[in-house]
Subunit: 361 residues, 2 copies
């Protein structure tokens, strides 16, 4: 099967095999060795000297953890949103009592760093900025380098949803001054879902010490004190750690620069091939993501039918649009275990299926 | 290796193999079929006609979810605690703003249902009772049937940590009127950690509709609406669902009654064999658990040394004591994939290792 959604992503065989490893004591020396090794490699992939923790949850759990560890009810936060996952960040912050100021951009466009500057210059009471690096719902990568420069200028806390970017698209956490960065095992990491990985900067720790939102399961301070013993506070998803541990060896072998370059090549190819079919990208080329390509549904094309035909007749699984983009776009995931050949296979399937769903190639 | 801690527990080979299944779309028809099937079997194991959800987290996440879904800040709750996990329940409720009244029993003893009655009769403002069915930290199983009868008499909400009991020790959720029951995939379920399973009664839903503690990731209402589509709100731990799905087939094949009887036999054997070594149980026989046996560390025995020798020389992994029981007890886990033969192997290892650690058998 060609599973080409933006996560879960296909898993190399040796990583699947790693999961047949029998259980071990999650408070024993073998687990300690594994989590220390995985954490060390993750730090090089996050490009951080800060802390990195494994949380047993999906990416959304990691987002919630980043909010409740750094903020107090009543804190004003600027949520920079240009898609469903930016909105999710705002919803989480609001539910936990933050005063959320939304800076929204049209779905399919990128965040304008100058607008972030304007928002921060107009309101000194903003404590933190929450931003999506790669907006999976629209296939847009925001210019996090420029956004983070603005946030640093105003000395705000910067919390980054990098769930579908980290390990695929360059994100030098420390260099750009990102305080909490979140990713998920089932995205670029070639592992199954079940682990969120988060980095925590010195500034984030200072915020953590003051933060009053209620937290128990997500408490970064507990994660830190247990990691010092090679443990997690609560029983971790051991099999998923086996998988991630093996995946990180492959990451180390290929090297982050090569991985980022591969995703750039594959992303560029996906966009070029989609256009060659006579289809249009949903976002502008200038901000189109290297991990997920969002394609506009042209007149005449029944996208639900297309996805069904692709799945049932061509063994190819693509993703539809979320929320207001339901039926308006479809999405091709190309992150993690992916090469140009996988794009060829998807395009071949699309060539065959598109006419069956009402669109003449 | 003989992994005999109270979770993670050993996994049968066919369940390990299930995890080599390639990723699928967690919003596609194949996943929907799998989660519906798993949920249906789980309902028979929970002995409930209520809702059952899979949450991607450890058991502690399930405990947090049960609190934030049913309570509001300021609500008075009675936490009935006789060990580390009862204390954990109290800590979670307190952190999220509940007014916690603790009814504590000495570690190693069972909860006295009459004391629960007294507490409830003295304070009509108590809204909910939080109780541990099987206290993993002390090897005690509480008389949940009697406790639940009292809670029903006073018409309070009953939230049960059954993390290390459900699927091993009889717990008829509906018959006993338990409103939220929590278990974890790595305990009796023969699957890896990463999933908590929770049941939600009609009364719990009424509480949920009123509950004001902040929740996003844990929101049962979202879990319900997504399960209707055969999905989870957030990307689930797909590989762990594969494992659980396979494990539940084995559960169905063996039958709950047989499984409960097997744990009773294995538990009785563990207790008898431990005593035959000249050691004493930590709890009284009358409340000793069928899933974990807590053994008192006699004078002269260095329990840390014992565990190390067992691990390094006899390939047998037992658990120490937690918190105030550190060095005072050690624990043998016998839940999930376990038969009498596994107890024989543990006892043989103990026979050899005990003298090396200062205790003459």
């Amino acid at each position: 099967m060609q599973l080409r959604i933006p996560g879960p992503t296909p898993i190399p065989d040796e990583i699947l095999q790693a999961m047949t490893t029998q259980m071990i004591n999650h408070r024993g020396p073998q687990f300690a060795e594994m989590i220390h090794k995985a954490t060390d490699i993750l730090k090089t992939m996050f490009q951080t000297k800060g802390d990195v923790f494994l949380l047993t949850c999906s990416g959304t759990g990691g987002m919630e953890a980043s909010v409740v560890n750094t903020l107090s009810p009543g804190d004003k936060v600027l949520v920079v949103a240009n898609g469903a996952f930016g909105d999710r960040f705002a919803a989480i912050a609001e539910i936990f009592g933050a005063q959320v100021e939304r800076l929204s951009f049209e779905w399919g466009t990128a965040v304008d760093p100058q607008e972030v500057r304007r928002a921060l210059s107009q309101d000194a009471s903003i404590k933190a900025v929450l931003v999506t690096h790669n907006e999976t719902s629209t296939g847009v990568t925001n210019d996090l380098e420029a956004i983070s420069a603005v946030v640093r200028e105003y000395e705000k806390l910067l919390i980054v949803d990098a769930i579908s970017s980290l390990g695929c698209i360059d994100l030098p956490t420390d260099e750009w001054g990102c305080d909490v960065v979140i990713t998920g095992s089932q995205k670029g990491w070639m592992a199954p879902p079940g682990l969120a990985m988060v980095s925590v900067s010195e500034r984030a720790w200072q915020a953590q010490a003051q933060a009053k939102m209620p937290k128990y399961y997500w408490d970064f301070a507990k994660a830190k004190s247990f990691l010092e013993k090679g443990q997690t506070p609560w029983t971790p998803a051991v099999s998923t750690v086996y998988a991630l541990d093996t995946a990180l060896e492959l990451f180390q072998r290929e090297g982050l620069k090569n991985i980022v370059a591969r995703h750039a090549r594959v992303g560029a190819k996906a966009r070029a091939e989609v256009k060659s079919l006579g289809l249009s990208l949903f976002p502008d080329d200038s901000c189109a993501s290297n991990t997920v390509t969002a394609v506009q549904v042209p007149e005449g094309l029944d996208s639900k039918k297309l996805l069904k035909i692709l799945r049932e007749e061509y063994d190819t699984v693509l993703a539809g649009g979320q929320q207001r983009l339901d039926g308006k776009i479809f999405r091709i995931g190309h992150l993690g275990y992916v090469t140009e050949k996988d794009i060829d296979a998807v395009i071949e399937a699309l060539k065959a299926a598109l006419p069956q769903a009402g669109f003449s190639v």
